[in-house]
């Protein structure tokens, strides 16, 4: 008989209670998001779409967070780079493509909003806007209702590092802290707010430090490590469910892409700096881990890449061919009563 040696170490993900299938799904979601994002940039370059904003480099942080939440159960208020996050909680690539092509069938806004402005009642993804951090008080409001109605629901709200300077970030965190609300605030610290580096945005060493002022824990975590992000987010989620209140998590990452397709990032940072961070890309790093623990193999990977390429291709063609909204649709849905 061929007994497994008891000396075999349990893997990091097993220690966190994640199965091989789950970590493989995490990896697949990161890669799917990356392939979508790359296609978005290409479509903008080729003039097929007008604008794209990318989350390249932040996939591990997003997927690590998302896997700690419950799909179609908890509430999500993501920010504009959260493609991997929304994919993880149920949005499809076809839906994202419809959004970047601004087509009528886009479930986020039917082509009304820029890419990255997510919303889907079906998926409990709460409609978002462009002015940064307005979603933070909304998340507190949703969490307040969960508390009032004694529902086992946790709310997620994310935003960037520069955005944590906004008044709504402060007001929303403070409200959630006072009422000990079941909400997890996630700051994706990618070191820049467009061209302005972290050092010119805040004087404190870590965004997580800000939590002290709101009376709840702040946790700084390597955002390039999806398992570590999962671990701290899971703890925050459990704290929230136990009625112990909010947590602020700072996932430390790097924005590998320019701010958006309208930005020339080499005007304010060097190629060397960007290359250094490309070398720390979370996707190859997680891939290596999965190979090391035998979850990923060449054949699994080849199949996965082929599957994802198929998904991206199908979604691109579908969205490209899908009809635009009717011009007069501009007039719809100002009020519930359409006669106004």
């Amino acid at each position: 008989m061929n007994h497994k040696s008891s000396a075999v170490e349990t893997t990091r993900h097993e220690q966190l209670g994640l199965t091989d299938a789950q970590v493989l799904e995490m990896y697949r979601t990161m890669l799917l998001s990356r392939r979508f994002d790359e296609r978005g940039l290409l479509l903008q370059r080729s003039g097929k779409i007008n604008f794209h904003v990318s989350g390249i480099g932040q996939e591990a942080a997003q997927v690590g967070s998302a896997f700690a939440f419950r799909k179609q159960h908890d509430y999500f208020l993501p920010y504009y780079r959260d493609y991997a996050f929304v994919l993880a909680v149920g949005m499809t690539v076809r839906e994202l493509m419809l959004s970047i092509f601004a087509k009528a069938e886009d479930p986020n806004s039917a082509g009304r909003q820029m890419p990255g402005h997510f919303g889907s009642k079906r998926l409990n993804i709460v409609t978002g806007s462009s002015p940064v951090t307005t979603q933070v008080p909304h998340a507190a409001g949703i969490a307040l209702v969960a508390k009032m109605k004694k529902q086992d629901i946790v709310t997620y709200a994310s935003f960037g590092d520069g955005s944590s300077n906004q008044g709504d970030f402060h007001e929303g965190c403070n409200f959630a802290g006072v009422h000990k609300l079941p909400v997890v605030f996630v700051c994706e610290n990618n070191q820049y707010a467009i061209s302005v580096p972290y050092s010119k945005q805040v004087a404190c060493e870590s965004i997580a430090d800000r939590a002290v002022g709101y009376g709840f824990p702040g946790v700084r975590v390597d955002g390039n490590d999806p398992l570590e992000v999962y671990r701290v987010t899971k703890e925050a989620h459990e704290r929230a469910r136990r009625g112990e209140g909010p947590t602020l998590i700072e996932t430390v990452t790097y924005r590998i892409s320019p701010h958006s397709t309208s930005d020339n990032d080499l005007a304010y940072r060097t190629k060397e700096e960007v290359d250094y961070h490309k070398g720390r890309d979370p996707i190859p790093r997680f891939r290596e881990y999965l190979y090391a623990c035998g979850v990923l193999s060449e054949s699994v990977e080849t199949d996965m890449e082929a599957e994802l390429a198929g998904i991206i291709k199908e979604a691109t063609t579908y969205a490209d061919q899908a009809p635009f909204p009717q011009p007069e649709d501009t007039l719809k849905y100002v009020y519930g009563d359409e006669s106004i």
Partner: protein, 327 residues
């Protein structure tokens, strides 16, 4: 029918809706234990508990933003701004968020909130406790704006606002709170949003107004009647969407119109009312459209002679009405 004050009408509307619908709750600064700085929410915490008459931190954007979040998941929050002057920190939440949630999500999400805000002067409030901020929000599609002048309208419009599917800004005039009383039905009723009301009939001149100045117009009209001038007085009640039909019908009736409001003149609601009349009725007018409004100064000062100078009153209104009648 029972005769009650304007403030009691507002309180009664909230009390009845909290009773009727478990999803309704009130939040704001000092609205719980204290019952509001004006006493508008008195008794609500005692009857419905701390969570449904919720004392919030002193942070208006959070008051609005939390209410918006709650509304998106099925609640009917009534967010109180302690004074409308302090509503400005919440302007982004109101204009960028509440007003656009239905539209930007292609009708997937809705935002049925009410934001109550005491407005207006005449109470020695100085620059920052006297303003009329309606023109800041007026012209923002997606918002509804109401400003009642009587207890009947105050209660009926608040009930309608709470039951409305869209965000409603509810401006209540501080000076009306205790100085205005009136009859209110004992049974359930609403005043539909978007409908103006003729407060007095007359055939000589039309006065279109809202809020406290409705009362100045009514008082002035009684005196002018002795001079043989009969004024037709329209209370807009809803500022957005404006009741265009009622505006045009009332102007058609007399051919002369005075638009009256406490908010400063430039860019005020009256400018839009005037534009509507010019677009549709210019050749039926017997006199130029007249406006009597607050002065274009940043806000009204506290010193008694200055406040008196700024504020409209029965005499100033009567003079403007007489001038128009004699044109």
């Amino acid at each position: 029918m029972t005769t009650i004050s304007y403030i009691d009408a507002i309180n009664a509307a909230m009390q009845e809706e909290l009773q009727r619908d478990e999803n309704v709750f009130v939040l704001g600064e000092d609205v719980g234990v204290k019952g509001g700085v004006f006493g508008t929410t008195k008794g609500l915490m005692e009857q419905f508990g701390e969570e449904r008459a919720l004392d919030t931190p002193l942070a208006e954007s959070a008051i609005a933003g939390v209410a918006i979040g709650a509304a998106m998941v099925g609640m009917r929050p009534i967010a109180e701004m302690q004074y409308s002057d302090f509503m400005l920190p919440a302007t982004n939440q109101i204009i960028s968020e509440a007003a656009k949630i239905r539209y930007r999500s292609n009708n997937d999400w809705q935002c049925p909130i009410v934001i109550r805000a005491p407005f207006g002067g005449g109470i020695f409030g100085g620059l920052y406790h006297s303003q009329c901020p309606e023109s800041i929000f007026f012209g923002t599609p997606g918002l509804k704006i109401v400003a009642p002048s009587t207890p009947y309208d105050a209660k009926g419009l608040l009930l309608a606002a709470i039951r409305d599917e869209d965000p409603v800004l509810y401006f209540e005039h501080k000076k009306c709170y205790r100085s205005v009383t009136g009859e209110v039905p004992d049974e359930d009723y609403i005043v539909p949003i978007g409908k103006a009301d003729v407060k007095r009939e007359g055939d000589d001149i039309t006065v279109i107004t809202y809020g406290l100045t409705v009362h100045f117009a009514l008082q002035a009209a009684e005196e002018l009647a002795k001079e043989g001038i009969e004024a037709h007085i329209v209370d807009l009640r809803t500022l957005q969407p404006l009741d265009k039909e009622a505006i045009l019908e009332s102007v058609r009736r007399t051919g002369k119109v005075l638009i009256l409001h406490e908010d400063n003149k430039t860019g005020g609601v009256g400018a839009e009312v005037s534009a509507i009349i010019s677009e549709e009725l210019l050749f039926e007018l017997d006199a130029p459209i007249a406006r009597l409004c607050g002065y274009d100064v940043p806000a009204m000062p506290i010193s008694p002679p200055l406040e008196k100078f700024y504020m409209l009153n029965k005499d100033k209104v009567m003079e403007a009405m007489r001038k128009l009648a004699l044109f």
